[in-house]
Amino acid sequence: MTTTLIPAGAKTAVPPKRRRERQGPAWVFLSPWVLGAIVLTLLPMAVSLYLSFTDYDLFNPPRWVGLRNYVQMFTEDPRYWRSVTTTLTYVVIAVPLQLALALVVALALKSMKRGKAFYRSAFYAPSLLGASMSIALVWRAIFNDGGTVDNLFGTGGWVNRPGWALIAVALLTVWQFGAPMVIFLAGLQQIPAELYEAAAVDGAGKWRQFLSVTVPMLSPVLFFNLVLQTIQAFQVFTPAFAIGAGKGGPADSTLVYTLYLYDRGFVASHMGYASAMAWVLLIVIGAVTAVLFRTSRSWVFYTSEGDR
């Protein structure tokens, strides 16, 4: 184990005692990362865990209240449950749509002969821009009443209607399918052409090839994307913040979990409650990821398994 820190060539030449001393420089070079991890990640996490058991209004010292925040969250706060259902609805709408779109576009790009680089960049661009507030505001303008969608389809503004606002938020996420698309594309290019040739010789049509070759061969990548996008979707904030005018409106229809957390913490000054919410979110995301991993055993196919 310890040898991993030592350059390969020096492995046998250095006696054990000197080897220990050699760790000094390694720690010095690691120190920015180690300090960063401690100061910027571990410490804040510990503080947040502590705060989740307190009543803290930002201005006065935290007051220990034990489990009260958690109890209140689960039993006395209807708006908390509304934020939970809103987030779940959002995850269920946005993630499958986004992955499906990413896969379709990746398939189209794969079979493309010319201009692949251009289209790849063009489809990837929204992912680079999409997280920004400005795009979210443009989106809001498009779906506002009197906005583009209203003018084209006469549907009225989506962002002002409780039934539609969350869909506008989800569409903004779906539009940013660039990252999973690039990963799908890389996965598709890893599939050996011989498999398709063999399948074709056996008389499989395009659809059959897709189901029997592409899908199983792509399943690890699909799984990877699913896990990543699900984790991200649970934490959606910026689009909901912009489209719901910072309040999760209209009528709490875009009040996603993180937005309500932000509201409790920074608008209502209940930092303890917000911290408790954050920890519940962390645990839920962990649990959902664990469930995904468990189910993956039955549908994700790794080529190396065949060698066993």
Partner: protein, 427 residues
């Protein structure tokens, strides 16, 4: 053990570098090259206010060549949240504009400097004693009121005249107001006003017109779910009739005049505070006039004069004296007052106000005349709201959203609100 020394040295060097980095980030009001003191001054408002503020600050910097003022501003909602975060992080600005609602929380949380310590540079002798006291908590002066404001019904003069409805009188009751809005809506085919149901401020005026108040003296809730149900039933009926703005428009309100139905050209009137109403001028070509808020049915006024905003100094400022000088300049300097006009309300310094009032032109003159017309007719201002009110303002809007989108009855929403308000005020 030379090896150990090197290791120790490197570790402390790294720690030092990190400390230097952290210190560099937290310094507030640090000095920059040339020995100038830099003060950070933050406030909320609109571009009109920004332009005049910059002009006034240029004058201040000219008078005090050793001080440089950096400003930033945003709309009220965003400002409130940003300032709370800064204050919690120990990074409060040197000079900050505060709302009545924030005083209690910020002062009791130790964010604000005791301004009594800066008497030498910050004069308060010419400020009305009652008004000055609103910036005091437990006998300590934490903030100085910067202007006096009151609520108003701002209206599009030309648009109103075109309807043939007589312009609003000196006084009206809530039911007279509703009837007038109904006529306006009938003649224009658009709502007459912003739905006042979402506004805690409007509710307060209505409530006071019935002899009650938002909060009791000991910081409890001053009204019942029945009162709120009555108010929301009243506004909800008006909304259903199309007399006030529909939910789709009301939900877009964010504290800026641009996003009100009046600012967007969707209605003829809006209830607002008088100072920010100047922002409508840029949006409404026909001009803006001010009418008083409706009173209770028996003529009891619900409206009151309120310190429109305060200035406070951060407790951790590195330059308390310079910061107090800036506050003094903004509140007491005649030249500054001439530039600032009534953008933050009518000045609180008596001699400055007397000097300024006749010279106020344009909309500032309108505000001054409006306030003068109300002198002696209004009720006494309530004491500063308790800390929990900060969150309740938003809760009020959200709960009314449920009514205006017809997801809850006025009674259900009102009961929701009262439950949450009681919990909020207890904690």
């Amino acid at each position: 053990m030379p090896g150990h020394r090197t290791k120790g040295f490197c570790a402390s060097a790294a720690a030092l570098a990190l400390c230097a980095m952290l210190v560099g980030c937290t310094g507030s009001g640090e000095s920059v090259g040339g020995g100038k003191v830099v003060l950070r001054y933050t406030w909320w408002g609109n571009p009109d206010r920004a332009e005049r503020t910059e002009q006034a600050l240029a004058l201040f910097e000219k008078q005090h060549p050793d001080i440089q003022v950096q400003t930033s501003f945003s709309a009220y909602d965003a400002y409130k949240q940003k300032l709370a975060t800064q204050a919690a992080g120990g990074d409060a600005p040197d000079v900050m504009q505060l709302d009545y609602r924030q005083i209690d929380q910020y002062a009791s949380g130790g964010v604000l400097l005791d301004l009594g310590e800066q008497k030498a540079v910050l004069r308060t002798g010419e400020i009305d004693a009652g008004l000055l006291a609103t910036g005091r908590l437990d006998g300590t002066q934490y903030a100085v009121p910067q202007g006096r404001g009151t609520e108003t019904i701002a209206y599009d003069v030309e648009g109103w005249k075109a309807t043939g409805v007589p312009l609003p009188d000196r006084s009206w009751t809530w039911s007279e107001w509703a009837d007038t809005m109904r006529t306006l809506a009938e003649r224009t085919g658009r709502p007459g006003a912003t739905d006042p149901g979402q506004s805690e401020d409007c509710f307060e005026v209505w409530l006071r017109g019935r002899g009650k108040s938002l909060y009791t003296e000991d910081g409890g809730l001053g009204f019942t779910a029945d009162d709120l149900t009555r108010w929301w039933t009243f506004t909800d009926e008006l909304r259903r009739e199309g007399v006030v703005s529909p939910a789709e428009q009301t939900t877009q309100l964010d504290g800026s005049v641009e996003n009100t139905p009046l600012g967007r050209g969707e209605s003829l009137t809006d209830a607002n505070w008088d100072a920010p109403a100047s922002g409508y001028l840029a949006l409404i070509p026909g001009g803006i006039a001010l009418a008083p808020m409706p009173s209770g049915e028996d003529g009891t006024p619900g409206q009151y004069f309120k310190p429109s905003m305060f200035l406070g100094v951060g407790a951790d400022t590195g330059h308390p004296e310079e910061a107090a000088r800036l506050v003094d300049f903004l509140v007491n300097d005649e030249q500054a007052a001439k530039i600032l006009g009534a953008t933050r309300g009518i000045p609180v310094n008596d001699s400055v106000r007397k000097e300024i009032e006749p010279r106020l032109t344009d909309f500032d003159g309108t505000i001054a005349a409006y306030q003068a017309s109300l002198e002696g007719t209004l009720g006494t201002p309530p004491q500063a709201p308790p800390s929990g009110d900060n969150a309740l303002q938003t809760t009020f809007q959200r709960d009314y959203d449920q009514v205006s989108y017809e997801r809850m009855s006025p009674r259900e929403a009102a009961e929701n609100y009262v439950t949450e308000a009681k919990a909020e005020l207890r904690s």
